[in-house]
Amino acid sequence: MLYRENGQFKTSYAADQQIFAIAQDRWAILAIIVFALVGVPLLVDEYLFRAILIPFLILSLAALGVNILVGYCGQITLGAGAFMAVGAYAAYNFHIRIDGLPLLVSFLLGGCTAAAVGIVFGIPSLRVRGLYLAVATLAAQFFTDWVFLRVPWFTNNASSGSVSVANLQILSWRIETPVDKYLLCLTILVVFALLAKNMTRCAIGRQWMAIRDMDVAAEVIGIRPLFAKLSAFAVSSFFVGTAGALWGFVHLASWEPAAFSVDRSFQLLFMVIIGGLGSIMGSFFGAAFIVILPIALNQFLPAIGSVFGVSISTAGVSHAELIIFGALIIFFLIKEPHGIARMWSTGKEKLRLWPFPH
């Protein structure tokens, strides 16, 4: 069947406001989700779960959070790693200090704590923007690094801030195998993505975008910058914090503050720039790209090198990775600020009209 909206007339505003207004898109998304839930666990081996799929899902969740703040609300952040750390350590503390607290509740409380910290570090955004705000959020990074290394209470007196969790369980479901972990992360991601989509198509999302596009006009129309900006910081940090909890509990199982260093903050920012600022889909594209690229390079670069008689070391590969990232960031910032997501939608627009381009 051709990719068309012919004949799909919308007779109500409700139909027009659906998340996926074209029937083919709705079916495609449904098919992808069903395949991810049922097909992938049957087809994929353990290594792929551990190395690619689980990191991809968790980082997508974090990228979604960063995108809400940077892409939708236009507030730059270099503190995403810090908010992941807050989410992870807060969830850890709830988990070990409150007996019998359900695991999911620990995760969500971790997210809420990150949201509260996010609001505090978002306050400078009411005064400064751009580079200055980036520096202010970077402060969050150094602050949390310091807190989790130096204040033993947060890590239950563990030396050098390293903590670990074991025997994860939700009701009677024990989360042990990579497949379990994958399904848990997938479910949380799908739910959160839906929440993000709902917010961005409602009044709160329009407030964020209005502040991003023209803050004076937004204020004149009755949008309070204080509420719009701080709510974006809160929601964003909630997403990022929950992702942090998942990263600690599910992906790493034992971690130390270095797991959430400033490198992570930059990585998440790169994801949303490459994937597409201000696009839910873009967060997934960006995360997939950044998770897969290093692995793909590791696989193929030495092989390509040997064809030309050059041997490429592992160090060479990781240098190549940085060079490629750098080049891509520059390319996207100059040529396509809306990232892969925009390329994708332009492609679809062309497909809608194909083969008659006018």
Partner: protein, 260 residues
């Protein structure tokens, strides 16, 4: 033209505004009556835009008072002004470039939204119903301004004339009682100007909206406004019905003296 006007709705008293050494407004008093179309004219840099910015709180005057429906404000701010039913358009279009026409207009409904963040996140009943109800109102504005064909277009891609129209649409979506228009017809061709005039007159007529209008096109101003105030170098040099202003010698000399 004899038209009936209501009460005093907006009254500025002895307003002075300076930016450093630049005096943008000096001791200006000026009032607006309900339902009238009140024009502000004057040469470039006379302080017209500053005046609108004072009315809706974007600029804080050093001196003077704003009285809105009998309520005194020494410090207005944009949010209070919006809550009080003042909306405006901008001289240099200030639309939300990354959003579609519909979304731009929907932001105008913001003050009327009652559902909270959680209800919206879950697309919960109240949030969904509200979204639909406001969409219907926004569609009425779209029909009124005859921009149905571009409702889904990102505003950044629209030609200038249409952007001006969307800017008006966003202000109208607020259902204002006072509408401030900063050069709504600047840079338009004759046909677009006629359309815009028609919209302004219709808004005033059908919804009873009070309109404060800055415009350089004298033909238009004399045609559609009920009363005109003339500024020059931040001072008020004329105020009255169009015919009185037209024959005011001070106004004539200001206009002949200023390159225009």
């Amino acid at each position: 033209m004899s038209r009936e006007f209501g009460e005093l709705i907006l009254d500025l008293q002895n307003v002075s505004l300076a930016f450093g050494g630049v005096k943008a407004l000096t001791d200006i008093s000026f009032d607006v009556r309900e339902h009238e179309i009140r024009a502000i004219i004057g040469p470039n840099g006379a302080g017209k835009s500053s005046m609108l910015n004072v009315i809706n709180g974007v600029y804080r005057p050093q001196q003077g008072e704003i009285i809105l429906r009998g309520q005194h404000f020494t410090r207005m701010n944009p949010y209070k002004a919006a809550c009080a039913g003042i909306s405006r358009t901008f001289q240099n279009i200030a639309l939300f470039k990354g959003m579609s026409v519909i979304d731009n207009l929907m932001t105008g409904r913001n003050l009327k939204i009652r559902s909270n963040l959680l209800q919206q996140a879950f697309w919960w009943g109240p949030a969904r119903r509200e979204e639909l109800a406001h969409r219907a109102r926004v569609e009425e504005v779209i029909d009124f301004l005859e921009i149905q064909h571009i409702r889904k277009t990102p505003v950044g891609r629209l030609p200038y004339g249409l952007q001006k129209r969307v800017d008006l649409g966003r202000a109208l979506a607020m259902e204002p009682s006072i509408l401030l228009l900063d050069e709504p017809m600047a840079g338009m061709n004759v046909e677009e100007k006629q359309d815009m005039c028609r919209f302004i007159l219709d808004v005033n007529d059908q919804f009873g909206t009070t309109i404060v209008l800055i415009e350089h096109d004298m033909g238009v101003v004399m045609d559609i406004s009920d009363r005109v105030v003339v500024l020059d170098y931040g001072r008020k040099i004329g105020d009255g019905v169009p015919d009185a202003v037209r024959t005011n010698p001070e106004v004539i000399s200001a206009y002949l003296g200023a390159s225009h």
